[in-house]
Symmetry: C2
Subunit: 349 residues, 2 copies
DNA sequence: ACAATGAATGTCAGCGCTGACATGATCAGT
DNA sequence: ACTGATCATGTCAGCGCTGACATTCATTGT
């Protein structure tokens, strides 16, 4: 019971295999009548193109690779899901590559895995996209790639950047509008582009409102890791640590912004442990609108990246015939207000 | 800059392409000396087999398909992640197919999508594995499949079954031992085998302790989806809805078991919103030991399936040359006790 | 009426690999 | 030394498709 081939259809209809191929590939140079007969025969015989043969003939794999971290975060599961959908629409397949930056470089991971697959394009989310060896390798192999919110050599490739700056500023303004005047920030390592941008934007937005630096207490992510000691921390644990550092002071902030939702959830948990009510005494906002934001109680005010759009654009750029010029595409980040933020308490005075 | 081919390596070493192919495919009939020279040349020239050509020649795609639901639960992200790893180890690729049973039958989804890919094998997690049309189609196409915890025609294929019954019974007994006597259950569609089994096991275990049906309030998953209206629900949202239905009553249960952790987290959130303290006034237990279980505060008591093992076995069965005989493999499920369950409150009397 | 155009369709090699089979070399047993 | 078995290696077609190019035929302008 062999599978149906182009040749079979050609035989049925009485044309050459090439003409059938034309119909399958939507080549316009086929007469409507012939096209119809061929389409019918394809339908009737249940013909399905052999992708391997096509790949071999065209020297394209119709595969798009994507690097994903070993631990499943909201951002990545959403990204993969959306990318998969987009790939299907473009007739591509998505190949996942698990990448643990703590064990191996992105370039090595690529060498070991995805490279065998001869992807036509690769999507490089944060961290993987900042490995210059990997980019060199990709260039050398002639594999196109799109980076998502990269941190280094921004001019080097097409990149899709969530507008972390504006999203962060929106959070700052939301705090300000609610009367907050003393702030805390749990900031990520400035080596991560999004971390640096969010930090600077938060501070910048507040300063432009007249807030002085002395009213913004900053806790560094790295210092929390150091404080924790071991390697078995979770983001929530670090968030608790950060929350304690910010809240267990003379004049604690009334509003805290963190690099992501998991950290924010930790801050909330710690505040509650200290008898500080959220949002009555303290407002907390995170970033990403992840599951953690909804699981947290009260639910977190947060900033949401349009992950599905980002994935769709990345795939489109890779799948599209015309090589898109190198450029940086920006995506809006929107503020999602939930119950973890409210009007500043009066009690301060 | 053409890619390196078998022929190129053959030319360098001075043997035929076939011999190189033998080395690549670990055919034992190659002399150690030749093998070594060829291996060196492959290494040196950076040869990588063309998977498409191989597929075409062998009529095998080296692809394993898997059906995943549109909303990302822990179970499925873990399953996909583990299956992906296992596939890599066996030299296979994993093709995801998003399947929404509420929109389309699994068979139709397969026709539209995965079928084009000509997978060598398909992994059918719950729901998809219970669509007999799909199984017929797969048999007809000569595509092997493994079902995970199927609900129907259990004899029909190799299946891997987590012991949901025993895991669920363990939860019920844990509740009972803590003095609970009024129960709530957020149950999945009985069409889903694991859903039906968990429902029946929970009820059965309680009844065998002398609990009457009137003391077990059941909320159906599907009815929650209907109640929600739109399609933009998350499991947590539905859990909250379910929690409200169970708790906002005359004689609310003191212990609630849900189909999975995300739902349980929703129940906890809703309970807290209603001013009900977990676990003082209410014990809640989920299933899966997902991230949600640890993010939730208090952390959830839950039952853990060995998802990685399940995925690895499924892939091994599909990738292994010798067709494994039809059989049902059983995997243990273990109870993980955390802070969301405790002794029943006295207040009832 | 005839060349020039262009649209519809066909021919064919070859993408890189492997399966089936053929060949030649080596070796044990008589 | 000769036979037959065993092992190492080679030959070659063909998997199903598409790109480059060739051919056929109807249409148009002059």
């Amino acid at each position: 019971m062999r599978a149906v081939t182009l040749e079979d259809i050609a035989g049925i209809v009485g044309v050459s295999a090439k003409t059938v191929s034309r119909v399958v590939n939507k080549d316009p140079h086929v007469s409507p009548a012939t096209r119809q007969r061929i389409s019918d025969a394809i339908e009737q015989a249940g013909y399905r193109p052999n992708l391997a043969a096509r790949s071999l003939a065209t020297a394209r794999s119709n595969l798009i690779g994507i690097f994903v971290p070993p631990a499943g975060s909201h951002f990545f599961s959403e990204l993969v899901r959306s990318a998969m959908r987009a790939c299907r629409e473009h007739g591509y397949n998505l190949a996942l590559e698990e990448f643990d930056g703590r064990r191996e470089s992105a370039a090595d991971t690529y060498r070991r895995g995805l490279r065998q697959q001869r992807c036509d394009g690769v999507i490089l989310p944060p961290v993987a996209g900042d490995d210059m060896d990997l980019l060199d390798l990709l260039d050398q192999d002639g594999v196109r790639y799109v980076r998502i919110s990269p941190a280094a050599q921004l001019h080097r490739s097409l990149s899709i950047n969530a507008d972390h700056a504006r999203g962060t500023a929106a959070v700052a303004e939301h705090f300000w509008a609610n009367g907050h005047r003393r702030f805390g920030l749990v900031a990520a390592n400035p080596g991560v582009a999004s971390g640096r941008i969010r930090r600077e934007s938060f501070i910048g937005a507040l300063m432009s409102r007249g807030i002085g630096l002395e009213a913004i207490e900053i806790v560094e992510f790295d210092s929390l890791v150091d404080q924790w000691g071991g390697t078995d921390w979770s983001l929530i644990d670090l968030g608790r640590l950060g929350g304690r550092r910010l809240l267990d002071t003379e004049a604690p902030p009334t509003a805290i912004f963190t690099y992501n939702d998991e950290l924010a959830a930790g801050v909330v948990a710690e505040a509650q442990a200290l008898g500080i009510s959220v949002p009555r005494d303290l407002s907390v906002a995170g970033f990403d609108d992840s599951d953690a934001a909804r699981l947290c109680s009260p639910a977190l005010t947060t900033a949401r990246q349009p992950i599905a759009d980002i994935a769709a654009m990345a795939v489109a750029a890779l799948a599209g015939e015309p090589q898109m010029p190198y450029q940086a595409i920006s995506c809006p980040v929107s503020l999602v207000v939930r119950q973890s933020t409210a009007t500043a308490p009066m009690s301060g005075f």
